[in-house]
């Protein structure tokens, strides 16, 4: 029982953070059509802002979510309104735009990382927050990881309700399917796309904040998280938010089980599952 809980809750923790990382990217690609290679850099910036505020001002990392999220959202929103909107209107075709935006996000990745290196250097940073054990039916877990899970789950649920229930959420979903027609319905497409990019960045920032409570952080870590996010998003089915949740949870569970059996195989297992699932379902779990 304890072992089962160890694996299960461990899987939820990993899955929760994977899902949170992936949802933002899924939104950016699914709606705004930007495969954002700099996604991980936003995660990194979120993590470093939280670390800096905790280390220098003693600000509770959970409280810093309220600062980091909006700040990064604004950056994402403005980036889209300036750079990507321009790119979109000047591109000859949607495919050309996807290629072009891919390059642009590569550029962004370089720029953000370099700025972060200038600001924070390249060494490893970490802080100890809520690093105590919590017992659940005899299985012990680190409190900071459980907190991370709770917040990740909370953010994902709120975000899901936002998309499913609100006027803006519906507009985003409509724009994901057919932006031009959504425009005919009265949706301000430029704003919605920028909003999606900003929200994607916001999710990345929040994920970074939460991650920094549990893992050491480096200014050079961005790409690793981008890769995880892309894998999860593709696994779930591009553009499907729910798919990203499921993809994240599957990877988390698989990771947790394999970590239990043989940790050295965990990454092999991730990619193996990923490749196998894609071969069975070529458009991801919830893809069309």
């Amino acid at each position: 029982m304890v072992e089962f809980l160890n694996i299960f809750i461990g899987g939820l923790i990993l899955g929760g953070i994977y899902a949170l990382i992936a949802v933002g990217l899924s939104l950016q690609y699914g709606v705004a059509r930007v495969l954002n290679i700099s996604h991980g850099e936003f995660i990194m910036v979120g993590a470093f802002l939280t670390w800096a505020m905790y280390t220098f001002w003693g600000l509770n990392p959970l409280a810093s979510l309220a600062i980091v999220g909006p700040a990064i959202f604004v950056v994402g929103f403005v980036l889209h309104r300036t750079l990507f909107t321009r790119l979109r209107t000047s591109s000859a075709s949607p495919a050309a735009y996807e290629g072009g935006s891919l390059i642009a996000t590569f550029g962004l990745m370089f720029i953000i990382q370099n700025l972060a290196i200038i600001t924070w250097g390249t060494d490893i940073e970490a802080y100890s927050f809520l690093n105590t054990g919590v017992s659940i039916f005899g299985a012990r877990f680190a409190a900071n990881r459980l907190t991370m899970l709770l917040f990740a789950a909370g953010i994902c649920v709120v975000f899901y309700l936002f998309l499913a229930r609100t006027r803006l959420g519906k507009a985003i979903r409509a724009a994901a399917q057919d932006p031009e027609t959504a425009g005919m319905m009265g949706v301000n497409i430029k704003r919605v796309l920028a909003l999606c990019f900003g929200l994607g960045a916001l999710m990345a920032g929040l994920a970074g904040s939460l991650l920094s409570m549990c893992y050491p952080i480096r200014t050079t870590m961005g790409l690793e998280y981008t890769i995880i996010a892309i894998i999860v998003v593709v696994l779930g089915g591009m553009g499907s938010i729910v798919g990203s949740f499921i993809g994240g949870l599957i990877l988390g569970m698989v990771g947790s089980i394999v970590l239990y059996i043989d940790p050295s195989l965990s990454l092999v297992a991730y990619y193996f599952i990923f490749i196998l699932l894609l071969l069975v379902r070529p458009t991801g779990i919830l893809g069309k």
């Binding site: 953070i17 490893i124 100890s128 690093n131 990881r145 893992y215 940790p263």
Partner: protein
């Protein structure tokens, strides 16, 4: 037609671009008076290894260059004067291909006088043959390993300074553990040259010392959860937990052990525990944690001086209690060998380095060369200030048996601090 013209234009540009540097190389002007000594290096300013540049060798070589220049430079008899040092650092982006090219560029195109090593063991392995081919002395800083030892006879220009697994660390650890009566140990190691070597050597040395290794688990780079390993070690009741990983995984292991309340008698980790900022991150929980490679201000008066100089320049959190004094000593040794040779001819300097003993912050310092004296060398065992350290009251104490010891090991380590 335009397209063809276009093709033509581009090919012409290519030819010109190719020819220009050749031409420039062909008409070298007469050698001007030597004004400056250039040290070149391909270093990871970006990418995953950038942390080395910031925390390991980076601060040390910069500090050393400034000091030498403050004295007016290196005195070279051949020129009859002191020549200041200039650094030429390229970014290799943590990529092997870029590093090898940059190194050859430094040697062939920039014709630097000396090179400094790239970061990480694998990169050192790749840099050593290149340096040897061109007859450049390569001091090995961040890295070294048993894999390199058999190659030393073919690498006469290689001088490694850092201690590593069977280069005295694990045998000393085995002594400490068996002295303390430890009977069982669990090993977690990273799937990387470092982890494989350490776990391999530790396996031999600890077993020889009569310690039973009850668990050996490897983790991949980028692992995000090690609780199953900690849980297993706890279940097995391993008295010593040895984590042969890098800071990311080591930090994860310690955090997880605290959360899961696994408090073995000995908790030792690889790179990470040796950094000064480690104590800051873990606070009281750092107490009693061991790491390999060790020195502190009590090691010698020279160490104390070096420490003062370092913190006057850098954030004290950047201090590395494993390698910093070794890198610095290596540079001091190099510097004295150059002045002793009185020339910039590397073959001559190499002979000086292979055969001399110089005073550095380590005390009398020399290299153990291969038996015939024709190959490369490693810093001699007697020169090291310590092989194993332990955090005690905020100080990374050297706990080796013998003269290097600055404090006896505390085994079992104190319990993790109670929840705040």
């Amino acid at each position: 037609m335009r397209r063809k013209l276009l093709i033509l234009m581009v090919s012409c540009t290519m030819v010109l671009a190719l020819a220009a540097p050749l031409f420039a190389a062909g008409c070298d002007e007469a050698e001007p008076e030597k004004e400056v000594i250039v040290f070149g290096a391909a270093r990871p300013l970006t990418g995953p290894f950038a942390v080395y540049e910031e925390m390991a060798f980076g601060p040390i070589y910069k500090m050393w260059v400034d000091e030498v220049n403050a004295r007016g430079g290196l005195y070279i008899e051949e020129y009859g004067k002191r020549l200041p040092i200039e650094l030429k650092i390229y970014d290799d982006g943590s990529d092997m291909g870029t590093m090898t090219s940059m190194l050859e560029r430094l040697i062939l195109e920039d014709e630097v006088d000396f090179i400094l090593p790239p970061a990480s063991t694998a990169f050192l392995f790749a840099a050593a043959p290149i340096a040897n081919k061109h007859g450049y002395i390569l001091m090995g800083a961040e890295g070294g390993g048993t894999t390199l030892t058999p190659l030393l006879p073919s690498l006469p220009y290689y001088f490694g300074v850092l201690n590593y697994s069977d280069h005295y660390q694990m045998p000393v650890l085995a002594d400490i553990l068996s002295d303390a009566g430890i009977e069982t140990a669990a090993i977690m190691y990273l799937e990387d040259l470092h982890g494989v070597e350490y776990s391999g050597v530790a396996g031999i040395e600890l077993t020889n010392a009569g310690i039973d290794i009850v668990m050996t688990k490897s983790v991949p780079l980028g692992v995000m959860d090690v609780s199953s390993i900690i849980n297993q070690a706890k279940t097995l009741g391993a008295e010593a937990f040895l984590s042969f990983c890098y800071p990311d995984e080591n930090f994860l292991a310690i955090g997880t052990a605290i959360a899961l309340d696994y408090n073995p008698d000995v908790f030792l980790t690889g790179p990470g525990a040796n950094f000064a900022f480690f104590a800051g991150v873990f606070g009281p929980a750092a107490e009693g944690i061991m790491g390999y490679g060790a020195w502190n201000t009590k090691s010698s008066a020279a160490s104390e001086d070096f420490y003062e100089k370092f913190i006057a320049l850098y954030d004290p959190g950047l201090l590395d209690w494993w390698g910093h004094n070794l890198y610095y000593a290596g540079l001091q040794f190099f510097e004295q060998a150059i002045e002793e040779a009185g020339t910039l001819d590397q073959a001559v300097i190499r002979e000086v380095m292979a055969t001399s003993t110089f005073d550095t912050i380590l005390g009398p310092t020399w290299f153990d060369m291969t038996a015939d004296g024709e190959g490369g060398g490693l810093l001699a065992e007697e020169c090291y200030t310590g092989q194993v350290g332990q955090w005690q009251n905020g100080v990374f104490e050297v706990v080796d048996p013998g003269a290097n010891r600055t404090a006896p090991p505390v085994i079992p380590k104190p319990a993790w601090p109670a929840e705040e």
